[in-house]
């Protein structure tokens, strides 16, 4: 399938991130069109598109907006811009290159759900993205798209751009809310769900950056335009951020349903002399797939049927130079480092799985350890407080399924003896050793 640049259409222009650059291509026309309609019709429009959340869970966006009780009490829109998933790199480039699509989307979404305050929670480690979005919000305010009586519609809105302090857990929506309220970022007990009692105990819609950025073009072009892309259950297009051992890592905006093989072609294929070993459709939190799965359409439903998840839709590609044992160990180290500590299985499980995996990495694993790791993963999965634990329980079982031999080999030989640690790097062959 060909690429469908919408959000990324003008990223090659030097001022794509500015108000001038954005409006040159019809920016904020969608806002004006939206304000001419009723909020209900915007919600209905988004429902009609079948737009699903681009943050990983794929929840229907229009339905989420429809949950907000319209009883006159305060409620909020919060944009989850805490992109921290290993391998995911789509929201941050979007905020850098096209922040006004996000801002315009926020204004339309708030109009639709009748929120008067919106918050954009940006990962603290990316101050450049924070600055771009903050500038875009300021420009929007100066242009009269924010503040009171926006474009004479009587609709008031302000946007707070908030920088997190750098914690993966704050990408979990309820932990994000706690963090935004100034508390320690830990997930909240649900129910109540954020749609009932979220930020400051008020009903809150939490959407991913890409999801919201899709809204202006939907308003401008309509639901049937959006639905011409993708599949029945996964309509629309998506930012696929392909990373790893490909010729041209980058963001490829294509319809949902594009296969991984096509994405690989867009990315110029594997790097010179390399063969695909395994790949992950959407970040480290989804089970890995193999070359056998390259022709799967990248949709929520097809990837799930193959035992993985579309996730953030940011495929990571690994070639034969990579040790699965080592990759899994790195991921678990990440989850161990990022576990918030609230619940027992995630706090203890990530710590002790990592402990055992590092023994494998040193070639000191044992055969019983293989089952122990399976047990530990099973003891986390479905029992942790939030999805972080489930994510941490994901890499090992999938790796064991496809690459058991490598773990068995790591009971005898240190991984670095079988796999040159420099070989997977971009500086491989440059005499780094």
């Amino acid at each position: 399938m060909p690429l469908t640049p919408v959000l990324t259409a003008h990223w090659d222009e030097p001022d794509s991130y500015s108000m001038v650059g954005y409006r040159r291509h019809g920016g904020y026309v969608g806002l004006q069109q939206a304000l001419a309609q009723t909020p209900e019709s915007i919600v209905q429009l988004v429902k009609d598109t079948g737009l699903r959340g681009r943050g990983g869970a794929g929840f229907p966006t229009g339905m989420k907006w429809g949950f907000v009780p319209q009883d006159g009490n305060p409620h909020y829109l919060v944009v989850n811009a805490d992109e921290s998933e290993p391998g995911a790199c789509k929201d941050i480039p979007l905020m850098l290159a096209n922040p006004h699509a996000l801002v315009e989307g926020v204004i339309i979404a708030c109009y639709a759900i009748r929120a008067r305050h919106a918050f954009i929670y940006i990962r603290g480690e990316v101050p450049h993205a924070f600055r771009r979005v903050a500038t875009a919000v300021r420009e929007a305010r100066e242009a009269g798209f924010l503040g009171t009586d926006i474009l004479g519609s009587g609709f008031d809105l302000d946007i707070v751009v908030h920088a997190g302090a750098g914690a993966y857990i704050c990408g979990e929506e309820t932990a994000l809310l706690d963090s935004l309220e100034g508390r320690r970022g830990q997930p909240r007990l649900k129910p109540p769900f954020p749609a009932v009692a979220g930020l400051y105990a008020a009903p809150t819609v939490i959407n991913n950056v890409e999801t919201i950025a899709n809204v202006p073009s939907i308003v401008t072009n309509g639901s049937s335009w959006f639905r011409q892309f993708g599949t029945e259950k996964s309509p629309g297009f998506k930012l696929f951020a392909v990373s790893g051992h490909v010729q041209r890592p980058g963001i490829y905006e294509a319809p949902l349903g594009t296969t991984m093989r096509e994405l690989l072609e867009h990315a110029g294929g594997m790097r010179a002399g390399a063969a695909l070993k395994f790949w992950l459709p959407g970040g480290s939190s989804v089970p890995m797939l193999t070359p056998d799965h390259l022709d799967l359409p990248m949709t929520y439903e097809d990837i799930a049927a193959a035992g993985s998840m579309l996730g953030t839709g940011t495929p990571m590609v690994f070639d034969q130079s990579v040790s699965v044992v080592k990759a899994v160990t790195r991921w678990l180290e990440f989850y161990k480092h990022e576990s918030c500590g609230k619940c027992t299985p995630c706090r203890e499980g990530t710590y002790w799985i990592t402990d055992v995996l590092k023994r494998f990495e040193r070639g000191q694993g044992t055969e019983p350890d293989l089952d122990k790791l399976s047990d530990l993963s099973a003891q986390i999965f479905g029992r942790s407080f939030c999805a972080l634990g489930d994510a941490a329980a994901t890499p090992y079982p999938a790796a064991l399924k496809y690459f058991r031999d490598e773990f068995v080999a790591a009971t005898r030989t240190a991984v670095d003896e079988d796999y040159d640690p420099v070989a997977p790097t971009v500086f491989a062959g440059a005499g780094a050793r």
Binding site: A167, I169, R184, L189, K336, H337, E338, S339, C340, G341, K342, C343, T344, P345, R347, E348, G349, T350, Y351, W352, D355, V356, K372, D375, A378, Q379, G382, R383, S384, F385
Partner: protein, 873 residues
């Protein structure tokens, strides 16, 4: 004690409970909607293992130990956080492999890193983790790598120590601190496997309730400096007891080994202290064995010498006989009800004196009246349950967190759970009031009566504080709570009674000491007999005389003097001498009283020195025994059985911890003394005292409150000895006595007092550099029953002087600078702290380290003091 005589608080009937039916392990159970699965399982006898769950804390679902299967759901759910739904089918570890495997997995996770130091851990033997590891855990570990270790222990306060590697991050302690106590000084810090309980830099966990976290810790992570490494649970004998430290009435468990109390814990009593107590009740017990008097002592050539019981009793009896008809009795406020009854019988039946006052604190004739009319003989209530249900509570001269900590916890619960509104008549918004989100009526000491009266007619702007309070007081179930310091504010208690009557609010009196309510019921006040009877009423006297087995004439017929009156009589009239009014005092019988606690410590000391003969019943050496002619040793609370009446009037009966102790309770000592006086009263043991108490009962009395109100407006009628006295007449007599006392009070006033008298009349306010003294006691202070517990003392709030910024600027002081508060008698220098409070008012703690105004300044609440810059020396 309700002022309205109608139905209890007039609350609407309980709404019908909405029941849902669920199935737990194939057993049907109907429970109220909203019940958590774990509670529903308990009801059918199924115990689901748990760590973070606590019935009095909000669910957190962090430990994941209580995972169960809910049919139709793909993954196990935390039973501590999921409410039942009608038709829900729950399977626990007993019938579900999903639940069982999940629980075993969690248990393995909890144990991998847990140190195997159970043999030296305080919790070993009573440890939920240890117990559940035995019942649900695997026997052998599968992990042999190095465990995470931490430096240990960390003192999160002087009293509470933390061993981080034992912690299972259940967050019970942090949730208790935040939700129950309102002192979020501990919090989980760091993340992942580094997560740990911690405190902020230089902000220790100095909560009055910190000890509860040790008790609810499901592992040995939190231990107390007092108990750590002292004992094994299985070496202890546990006895249910009642707390002697205040009138809250906490049920406790006292654990002892051989002859030593090792620790005390809160015991479960949902109607009173739920499962909590304060740190004073928990840790302040070393005093029980400190400096004890174990043998009778008699003063010979100025020295106290040990003598035999018969010799000591003989000398005491001789001294009291010599002063027959001129003996005063000061029993103190810490007696059990049984001992208080014994004191009443000894004083009024044996010695025939009505010069009896249990109040070892600033008091007044107005308070005597109030207690006789509103408290003595009143039925139970308002109760803790009434407090919890009340939509509005007015605190009049009461700081619950300092003076009755469990009342504070109950109010905080109601504020959090049912949005109760609390308001306080006080000079500034104390930390406790802040934690109750309470409203403040800023009131200078002495102006309480005006403030209370001002609430009556407040109908102005609906959002003013007084209008909100007026509205609150009129709501069904509203309660007014009165504290001890209102006694010293002229007219305040009368104003409270008026306010309660006018609004229909219930009225509760919350004394500080555990024995005060019992002493009121026993009649240890001038003019009062047991069971709320009136000494001036011949029928009442006859009833009591019959039970005591003495002739009617043996009982005094005229109201006697209170402590201040006795001191005045002993020291002689300082104004115009009037021997007709002031009967001489020849001897004093004194119980547990510290002179520093009364309004005029120097006066009491001088009176003890001056009076001809002093018999002291004491447990330990004190300023009174220093001045006593005969000292008779008495039992402490662990050595006797008895009953405290808490502030509600609830009976808090307890047995002796050390049942074979040879120490004698006050009642036994007084009975022996009565024998020595040849006026036997029986054995004087607890059983006899209870029998006498039962026979005495309570005088049936109608509508005391009405009588009190009428009496304040009616003209005084002459009291006749032989006519039957109406309730109104009873009050009128009190009023007359009070007027007389007021006269004599003004006559004996010190210069500062007369200045404050002028203030009240509006002729003179404090000038620049002057202020009115506001003061009350903090929970942790220099009280003798806190002696010997340095860890506890270190968590006390450091003494500060509080003034308004404007007042401080008059003296030229910045916040934190030293302020000297002085009278002609002396000065106190403390760091100054600014509060929103009336100008030219200064607050000092009553009895804290470096600050004992009664002793140092010679004055109490409402007095005029000078403010100057302090210097460090």
């Amino acid at each position: 004690m309700t002022v309205t005589s109608s139905t209890p608080l007039g609350l609407p009937a309980e709404p019908p409970i909405d029941l849902v039916t669920v199935t737990v392990d194939d057993i049907d159970v109907s429970v109220p909607k909203g019940t958590l699965i774990i509670r529903a399982a308990e009801l059918v006898g199924i115990e689901i293992p748990r760590f973070c769950d606590h019935p009095l804390l909000e669910p957190v679902a962090a430990c994941r130990q209580c995972l169960v299967e809910i049919e139709g759901q793909g993954k196990p759910q935390p039973s501590c956080a999921v409410s039942v739904a009608d038709g829900m089918r729950v399977r626990t570890q007993l019938t579900s492999s999903m639940a069982d495997e999940a629980q075993r997995g969690i248990m393995e996770f909890l144990l991998i890193n847990h140190p195997l130091d159970c043999p030296i851990c305080d919790k070993g033997g009573e440890c939920p983790l240890q117990n559940q590891a035995m019942s649900n855990g695997r026997g052998e570990t599968r992990f042999h790598g190095p465990k995470r270790t931490f430096v240990k222990p960390v003192a999160i306060s002087a009293q509470v120590l933390l061993d981080r590697e034992r912690c299972v991050s259940c967050a019970r302690c942090t949730r208790f601190a935040e939700q129950i106590a309102g002192d979020p000084f501990i919090e989980l810090l760091e993340r992942g496997s580094n997560q740990q309980v911690g405190i902020g830099p230089d902000v220790p966990f100095n909560s009055y309730f910190s000890g509860n976290t040790i008790q609810i810790c499901p592992v040995g992570a939190l231990t107390s400096a007092r108990y750590r490494f002292r004992s094994r649970p299985f070496d202890l004998v546990s006895v249910p007891t009642m707390c002697e430290h205040c009138a809250s009435g906490c049920a406790l468990r006292t654990d002892y080994r051989r002859t030593t109390v090792m620790r005390r814990q809160a015991w479960d009593d949902p109607s009173v202290n739920e499962e909590w107590n304060c740190d004073k009740g928990r840790f302040a017990f070393p005093y029980l064995t400190r400096d004890r008097i174990t043998r009778p002592l008699v003063r010979v050539d100025g020295e106290l010498r040990p003598v035999s019981w018969p010799e000591a009793l003989g000398i005491a009896a001789a001294g009291l006989s010599a002063a027959a008809g001129r003996v005063g009795v000061l029993p103190g406020g810490r007696l059990t009800y049984e001992d208080a009854l014994a004191y009443a019988q000894f004083a009024k039946g044996v010695l025939g004196t009505d010069d009896v006052d249990f109040r070892a604190r600033p008091a007044s004739v107005e308070e005597t009246e109030f207690l006789a009319a509103q408290v003595a003989g009143a039925p139970l209530g308002p109760t803790y349950a009434d407090l919890e249900a009340a939509p509005f509570v007015l605190l009049a001269g009461l700081e619950p967190e300092d003076e009755s900590p469990i009342v504070f916890l109950r109010l905080r619960k109601a504020v959090r759970r049912s949005r109760q509104l609390v308001a306080s008549i006080a000079p500034y918004a104390s930390y406790g009031l802040t934690k109750l989100s309470g409203l403040l009526v800023p009131t200078a000491p002495g102006a309480e009566a005006a403030a209370l009266t001002g609430l009556l007619g407040s109908t102005g702007e609906s959002d003013t504080v007084s209008a909100r309070i007026s509205a609150g007081l009129s709501e069904p179930g509203a309660v007014i709570l009165v504290g001890e310091r209102l006694a010293t504010s002229p007219g305040a208690l009368r104003a409270v009674v008026d306010l309660a009557r006018a609004t229909g609010a219930a009225l509760g009196w919350i004394p500080r000491r555990a024995g005060e309510r019992g002493a009121v019921e026993a009649g240890l006040l001038p003019g009062l007999l047991p069971g709320g009877r009136d000494l001036s009423d011949v029928a009442d006297r006859a009833e009591v005389a019959a039970v005591w087995g003495v002739p009617l004439a043996a009982l005094p017929a005229q109201p006697g003097r209170d402590l201040a009156g006795l001191v005045e009589a002993i020291l002689g009239h300082r104004g115009e001498p009037d021997p007709e009014v002031v009967a001489p005092v020849g001897a004093l019988v004194v119980g547990g009283i510290e002179p520093v606690d009364v309004a005029d410590p120097a006066g009491l000391r001088a009176a003890l020195d001056a009076v001809g003969f002093v018999v002291s019943l004491e447990t330990r050496h004190s300023e009174v025994t220093d001045r006593a002619d005969v000292v008779l040793p008495a039992a402490v609370v662990t050595e006797k059985a008895g009953t405290y009446l808490d502030w509600e009037g609830r009976s808090r009966e307890f047995g002796a911890v050390f049942r074979d102790s040879l120490a004698l309770p006050d009642g036994r000592v007084l009975a022996m003394l009565a024998d020595a006086l040849d006026q036997p009263v029986g054995r004087g043991d607890v059983a006899s005292a209870r029998a006498i108490g039962a026979r005495l009962g309570v005088r049936p009395r109608e509508s005391m409150a009405d009588a009190a109100i009428e009496a304040t407006t009616e003209t005084t009628t002459q009291l006749s000895e032989t006519t039957t006295v109406s309730a109104a007449g009873f009050q009128a007599a009190r009023l007359q006595a009070s007027n007389e006392s007021a006269r004599s009070e003004s006559a004996r006033s010190e210069p500062a007092r007369s200045e404050s008298g002028l203030l009240e009349s509006g002729l003179l306010g404090p000038g620049p550099g002057q202020a009115l003294l506001a003061t009350w006691r903090e929970l942790l202070d220099l009280g003798v029953m806190q002696e010997g517990e340095p860890h506890l003392a270190a968590t006390a709030r450091p003494a500060v002087a509080r003034v308004s910024a404007a007042t401080a600027s008059e003296v030229g002081l910045a916040e934190g600078a030293l302020l000297a508060v002085s009278t002609d008698a002396g000065f106190i220098t403390l760091p100054v702290r600014f509060e929103e409070m009336p100008d030219r008012v200064v607050w000092l703690p009553t009895h804290s380290a470096g600050c004992t105004p009664a002793d140092t300044l010679g004055v109490g609440s409402g007095a005029l003091v000078r403010l100057t810059r302090g210097s460090a020396t």
